[in-house]
């Protein structure tokens, strides 16, 4: 039987579908009974999706300056 601590350690493998059949079954059994772990794993998945949609701050980026450099002949 997996503990909640072990479930939290498996979190990314669970959301990325990286587990073998035996562990997957143990995870399924645990999740079925444990709403806390279900919530944590669900939130970890949302965290991953949030990161996938995150852009780094481009406010200080000057695209025109970059384009100008691109158009300059190489030395």
């Amino acid at each position: 039987m997996l503990t909640c601590r072990e479930m939290s350690e498996l979190g990314s493998d669970i959301i990325d579908g990286q587990l073998g059949l035996r562990t997957r079954l143990a995870v399924f059994m645990h999740m079925h009974k444990c709403s806390r772990c279900s919530l944590y794993i669900e939130q970890l998945k949302v965290t991953s999706e949030v990161l996938q949609q995150t852009s780094l701050n481009g406010q200080s980026v000057d695209p025109q300056a970059i384009l100008e450099k691109l158009n300059k002949p190489r030395e």
């Binding site: 503990t3 806390r36 939130q43 995150t54 970059i66 384009l67």
Partner: protein
């Protein structure tokens, strides 16, 4: 993705303002991704080279991956081209070790939850990201991650590269990449959790 398709369409029609918008969206990401590969001094060069290659090859981009993934692959190649010239300035020797779970203290001795996960007010990515302040907080905490976790999170989540590509680019094993990604996600989860509980960064 629709916005991206629109930009690409305009770009193919020769609209340079579309290219400017794409640069604005992704330049900081390319620099951040290149830093561990070539060092902070040359990261900007890698990003510049990436734009040069991207501009020349954009008609061949078929949209089978995200634009960001395509750009990331070009940047990794450019970084390798630079390091082959012996210009690598960074050592990643200390990378990849597991600092342990950031939430270890939330479990009791039997391994059960002691401090329960909190319910969030917003529970979809769209709802969460609709808060400007949260987006700023995510960026801030992303930069506060240990360098190795930060790189793996950027390469996997933002860039959408697969584990093997990331492992090869960083010279680590796929197993290391998985652990670093998990620790990085756990820390970013803790940040989101704090924001949802307290309402500030």
């Amino acid at each position: 993705m629709d916005e991206e398709q629109g930009l690409l369409k305009r770009l193919r029609e020769g609209d340079t303002s579309a290219f400017e918008a794409i640069i604005k969206q992704h330049h900081a990401f390319l620099v951040a991704m290149a830093v561990p590969l070539v060092g902070p001094q040359l990261a900007d060069d890698v990003a510049q080279e990436t734009w040069l290659k991207a501009m020349a090859a954009i008609n061949g981009f078929e949209g089978r991956s995200k634009l960001r993934t395509w750009l990331a692959r070009i940047a990794i190649n450019e970084a390798h081209a630079l390091t082959r010239k012996g210009k690598r300035e960074v050592s990643l020797d200390s990378w990849g070790s597991d600092p342990g779970s950031p939430i270890a203290s939330r479990f009791n001795e039997q391994g059960a939850w002691d401090v329960l996960p909190a319910q969030w007010h917003h529970d979809t990515p769209e709802e969460l990201l609709s808060q400007e302040e949260l987006q700023e907080c995510i960026r801030k905490h992303l930069h506060k991650l240990p360098d190795d976790q930060q790189s793996v999170v950027i390469m996997r989540e933002l860039a959408g590269l697969d584990y093997a590509e990331i492992a090869q680019a960083l010279g680590l094993l796929e197993g290391n990449i998985r652990v670093l990604l998990h620790r990085g996600r756990q820390r970013m989860h803790a940040m989101l959790n704090h924001f949802e509980e307290v309402g500030t960064c």
